[in-house]
């Protein structure tokens, strides 16, 4: 196979699976990250404690082990799920833990004066978060969130190990049948880069758009 043919043969199912896994896991991570980050700032100690445990557990163990555990161990407790669901769950939970820390520190780094001005204007705590604090915190978080998205995207290559037919899985299959190892894994490298690079750029552009003339 030529280099070109190798790339084309990975573009179908493999690319699709990688992208779908990335998008779904990123949405889950973002939702968990925002919920967790806000709960981490709650006045309720119990709520803070629950989130702290979640964060420590998922940061303190490896994503690969979490993936295996969800896909291979949970079925023994009668919880079975498709490889895609397991992949999204593991990656989303793992990155959600990191994201919650990004969200928490982003919110905390918004100037305290913004909170005071909001109180003086009689905002409710929820209105204050939604209209004043989070929009500013989001801009502070954006570079970190962008990095995490790239990391998350790259980490999806692990899902090949639970038999999900993503880019990496297809490369492995192709390698086993053709043994063109150099071409195949070079093509894989190029494909990951071609997706990651515009993502990075896109986030930089978004960042510039959001801060233009304002900060």
């Amino acid at each position: 196979m030529t280099f070109w043919e190798i790339i084309v043969s990975m573009l179908g199912q493999g690319l699709f699976t990688t992208i779908v896994t990335t998008i779904l896991a990123a949405i889950l991570a973002l939702v968990l990250g925002f919920a967790g980050g806000l709960m981490r700032l709650s006045n309720n100690r119990f709520v803070r404690f629950i989130v702290a445990i979640y964060v420590e557990v998922f940061r303190g163990t490896s994503l690969l082990v979490q993936l295996f555990w969800i896909y291979f161990v949970l079925p023994m407790f009668g919880i079975t799920m498709s490889a895609l669901t397991a992949a999204v769950l593991a990656i989303g939970l793992n990155y959600g833990a990191y994201t919650s820390e990004v969200v928490r520190s982003g919110i905390q780094s918004v100037d305290k004066g913004q909170t005071e001005a909001s109180i003086a204007l009689n905002f409710t705590p929820a209105q204050r978060m939604r209209r004043i604090i989070i929009p500013q915190a989001f801009i502070i978080m954006l570079p970190n969130l962008g990095n995490q998205l790239i990391e998350l995207f790259k980490s999806t290559s692990l899902v090949a190990l639970i038999t999900l037919t993503d880019l990496t899985y297809q490369a492995n299959v192709l390698n086993a049948s053709t043994l063109q190892t150099t071409e195949i894994y070079t093509a894989l490298l190029v494909l990951y880069f071609l997706i990651a690079w515009p993502l990075t750029k896109g986030i930089q552009i978004l960042e510039r758009k959001l801060t233009e003339g304002r900060m």
Binding site: E116, A117, I119, N122, P135, Q136, R214
Partner: protein, 259 residues
Amino acid sequence: MAEPIVKYNKVTKYFDDLQVLDEIDFEIQPGEKVALIGPSGSGKTTFARLLMMLEEITDGTIEVEGEYLWHEKDDKGNLKPASSEHQRKVRSNIGMVFQHFHLFPHMTVLQNIIEAPVTVQGRDKKEATKAGKDMLDKVGLLDKADAYPAQLSGGQKQRVAIARALVMQPKVLIFDEPTSALDPELVGEVLEVIKSIADEGEASMLLITHEMDFAKEVADRIAFFDGGKIVEDGPPSDILYNPQSERLKDFLERFMNTQ
């Protein structure tokens, strides 16, 4: 005499072990402009922030238009800590202008001004926009409606902050050293705006300032803080030209020397 709009009853404030306010009684009449002066660390800011609910009260009560700010009466008529609904209702009468402006950097000037009327007061967006523009006109910044705060000078920022507070139609407006973060050449434009609202406004004002001439010009009354107490309280001419206590005499003397 009319009912006071603000009434402090034996208000005490501690930060941990540090006593900052010591059983202060104090009243502001409707429409009255009161200046607070006193040495650094004497508790002026803390005193005002209690009224804006930016600090927790330790002891005593504050009433706004006869309603407790930090407390509510329970069924038996005993005071208990106020619910957040009650706090917000009473607090809606109070507005504040900060030393460091605290404009919302992610919003334009006009958005800064109409955000709270629309989101908090639920006013119609068209009406709020019109009121906001009128307010901007009043502080002389109508042409900056679409600018972002980062594009303004300090004096302009503070005028926007004043418009933002005014559009909420507070009955009491607090200013905490509104010009001390400004370059000297920008102080005048802000004082002028404050003076014009003081002249035409029905709102009461609580003005913390180190600008004695300005205090004299704008205030109906000056209260002198020292050591967590109000040591003297009276018409500007009495306070500034006929001080009774040694502490106020010292303060004014030191103040004159540094001018």
